[in-house]
Symmetry: D2
Subunit: 350 residues, 4 copies
């Protein structure tokens, strides 16, 4: 088998921008904890929240993600358009994001520039521009009428620079030009992401202090936006909005195997038949004997020549995007301006 | 196996509105030609065109589609945003659709009402409303200034009635009310469809003289729109814009099997190993021994409790919909008005 | 003068759909109260509210408006995008509109059909469609799951039928077809109106139980929608969104005259010079000697051949329309469903 | 009278961004040709085309416009949505704009950056962003795949930076940052303008090599964008889309006077009564004795306290903007890329 397939692991990369998924994959591969990666998790009222730190080069390589601090908010029921959960997530995000800024040494009056990445003409890629439309923008007021601004606000500016196909200019160039002229203390970059799992699409928010790097994500749409290139801290906020067909198929095959094993156990409660190492092979034949990566590689190999390896998004993409953009805009307005709170936040978005 | 799974075939229905796919599935099941179904096919310049007639009750039951005449236009390269192919398809569609109307006994001055079904707030469901926006509407001119209208036009009216969740009224009720008042000779109903195959999404147009029936398609969004309920012939035009996760996975497993068999043959050119009936089992284990329907049923069973059986659409849904709506609007403007032709058609859409 | 101009009063019609403005014009012309017209007015917190009844044929002719009951809500500061005033107006409108329905004998469980008139592609004409998008639609739930509906809701359906140029069908025909099939107890028709005064544009709501009649308003876009044609009571809700250049000029000339007279009085406090009947002539020459209608007629005569008699809307039309549509949608949701109130209304619009 | 009014000419500025209108006003005031201003005019097929050079400081002060070269294209029938005129204007604009660039020493391979100024959420202000959406963007191709680009194209980049209320940053700062990073040879800045005349709204295009300066135009939305601030030539392209109520009224009063004088002459063909200097006073009283500026000032004084001095746009603003944006995008695509011509231009816009 291995001879015949000679899977080149370097060729197929699982498309995911989520550190949490990289971590799961690393655990699957390495069969245990990853050195240099620390995770804390909690569940609050329908929200699964995890903080992950990648502290060593070894951890970074295992996850193929830069060293840094990652927050992940998961709320699967967002897909049921649960408005109370939306509000809860928005408040919770605001609190945690505010703490996160503090821990990075970013004070309450540090000047923020928010970059809404992505293409506003492509619904699943329009998260950044949609969030930016609903932010409370104040930088110009601090410049023009500083003495008329109440306590509890900070200078916030924002732009949705578009993608290179629309502008002809690398997004990183546009952003670094604007930073030089407008002199923010830190940057928040918002982007739509790819996930390996349909389940996480439009129900997960990832925050990272690592900036944004090319080659990851939906497409290779920009060069790096990080502290090194921009000169100020860059905090990336992303929401997975798409998934590729390889991931959908691979996950489903895994689910099928689990399902068949469970059924076997139910019928034979006293044997531990499902633990039998021959088991996957029994259910899935040769496919069952492949490693995770070999399986994905095979699926990729099969789908690509058929022009079939599409990236997809749920049919309800319009409302999902609308909901997520509102959660993030409200969350950011509260986190960035301490005078914006649960009582008045809705009057700042439209 | 069969004991343990007891797959209830009635429960899982493959989601497809395409007669062509139903036909393929019927052939897969029955293992040969379907009585009462006739197909003619041709390939012209990147367009695969097929005419299918379902003439007997038996054929209808085998396909789970009503008796009638189906046209299918497939142009896989539409996904490459090939503007010349778009034009070609538009002209070819116009010609064939015009012939089709003639064969149904619908003359060049018969009054048309075009119904754009679907929800304009849901991008992959907005095909109907988008087409309707770009039609050349003339009925009111025939009513108000009949002597100022040139030769080669017919009375065309159109409406996008919305979906029941937006209006509170069954779409079929709205449409039948409008028909009674505006008295068209025939109805064209345009709708977004579901396909079982990602490949056909946004690259296929189906025409059928059977009307539109509830329970099929993306959701159960209306009661029947057909000659029986509306009193005039109803021609349905549909484009698949979504596919469910079950279909994606199932197709991919099939492709994997084919792929592995091909590789086996390449390596062992003189044996016909790939024809060995034990073969699917070798590659896919127990899964390989399931029939098509058992396999789909299993996948469905696995995905549903995970909230994972989503319906998806390609990430590029916005441009695909735009392109398809233009092809159809231009095609219909030419087919319905003989004075609209290749030279002037673009001045009627915006 | 009169000889030379021979102004044909029948030719130029002041473009206004507001009964209040018709009433003012009638008073200007007749120089006093109009028999058969009763008005009650009150000012509450930035809202000027008036109830007008036209009870006799004489009153109707003087106002060129059908007999009926008119409510007018004016809130000039809406143009300052005052969100608190928007909420107040929304609540106040809900209360008064609910009372109004009661007085017309329309009970809390009477079935409503809301018609959003106008063209969604023309920003100042899109009021109706925008309101309809944000209504709480329930009729289908009463049909499908009647026992799962809480107290305090009524069956509400809604449609934005488009304009004749888009559909090819008279709007009145579409609406009457839908009424026959869906059987509502009353109809609410929402439309953008014309005012004679820039001041009232986007700051005024008119309610009338007279239905909607062709030839009035922005354009002659439909035949009558009233109890006579539709068989059920028709309540019209309108907001002026446009004004014609004749009105702007005429008003300004009047304001100039007042202004000059005021200044004269300020300088000569003891004479009553401003009351001198020669006064308008002194300030405005021959123009000053024209009656209101002659003046408008002259302006119309001057502007028309120049292609200059345009209908205009404020530059800020997008936000004005957005704000007004929200006020009306929230107001209607509260007035029609007694379980929708200040606390929860915002969760029903998006 | 004059005492009492003491009109402060510095206070009220006629709102116009059109050099042509400034020139007309200067002629009205100075009663003759303006030194240092040269005009050439021609009429071609429904298009009035004028080239104006302001060559001296004196001319510049008389017109309150910077020294420079102005092109003005007027096509009043654009308002009739005449698609052939649109095409003609587009081709004519392309030719003249190309010549204009040559005369400014800008060669066919000079790198262009197009800035779409204005707020995309405000329909009459969205010209710039709409044009930019339809430009053929090539700069990134010259950077990434220079050897795959055919003859007859130049590097074009573009951005719609938004307005300060949306970004919190001066537009001039954003633009200058982008210029430093992307290094264009010249800039084209597209903006919606104010006119003093309803007639010119959405039927006029102005080109100027003077850049864009604050305080002029619809609002004070940016600091200067010109060669001095940006370091490269800046060519401004503008279309008037709004007009203020003062201008509408003032123009109409002027038209009324002309109209009355014409009628007088028609009735008394042998006297030259209309030339009688007492004439304006006879028709318009005291108002007739005011100078142009005094009259505008008075109207402004009257309207302002009434909150009535609104800026307005024609009701049909949506289609006007759409048409104009297409004319400019097509015109620019042809002028900037010599390989884009009448035959293929429409395939580059959508």
């Amino acid at each position: 088998m291995n001879q015949s397939h000679q899977i080149d692991l370097s060729r197929y990369q699982v498309r995911t921008d989520l550190a949490l998924e990289r971590h799961q994959m690393a655990i699957e591969e390495h069969g245990g904890e990853i050195p240099g990666v620390h995770i804390e998790e909690q569940n609050i009222d329908g929200i699964h929240f995890s903080k992950m730190s990648v502290t060593t080069e070894e951890g970074s390589q295992a996850l193929r993600k830069p060293k840094g601090n990652y927050l992940t908010f998961e709320a699967p029921n967002l897909k049921q358009h649960d408005t109370e959960l939306q509000e809860r997530l928005s408040y919770f995000f605001a609190e945690e994001f505010h703490k996160y800024l503090k821990q990075l040494g970013i004070s309450d009056d540090a000047k923020a520039l928010v970059i809404g990445l992505g293409n506003w003409n492509v619904t699943p890629d329009a998260l950044g521009p949609k969030v930016v439309e609903n932010l409370l923008i104040t930088r110009h007021l601090f410049e023009l009428i500083p003495d008329q601004i109440d306590e509890g606000f900070r200078p916030v500016s924002a732009i949705a620079p578009g993608v290179m196909g629309l502008t002809g200019i690398e997004t990183s160039e546009i952003v670094s030009g604007i930073i030089e002229k407008s002199d923010p203390d830190f940057v928040i970059a918002i982007d739509a992401l790819a996930s390996r799992s349909l389940e996480r699409v439009n129900s997960t928010i990832q925050v990272a202090d690592t900036g944004i790097h090319p080659g990851s994500g939906i497409g290779n749409k920009r060069k790096a936006l990080d502290q090194e290139t921009l000169g100020v801290p860059v905090i990336a906020i992303g929401v997975p909005t798409v998934v590729d067909a390889v991931s959908i198929t691979n996950d489903t095959i895994d689910f099928m195997l689990q399902h068949l094993q469970n059924q076997m156990d139910i019928r034979n409660p006293f044997t531990k038949a499902s633990k039998d190492p021959e088991n996957p092979k029994y259910f899935l034949g040769l496919i069952g004997s492949l490693t995770e990566n070999e399986k994905r590689q095979l699926i990729h190999e099969v789908l690509s020549p058929l022009g079939y390896n599409l990236i997809v998004t749920p049919k309800e993409v319009d409302t999902f995007m609308e909901d997520m953009a509102n959660i993030l805009a409200n969350g950011l307005n509260m986190a960035l301006h301490r005078s914006v709170d649960k009582e008045n936040v809705s009057s700042y978005t439209h």
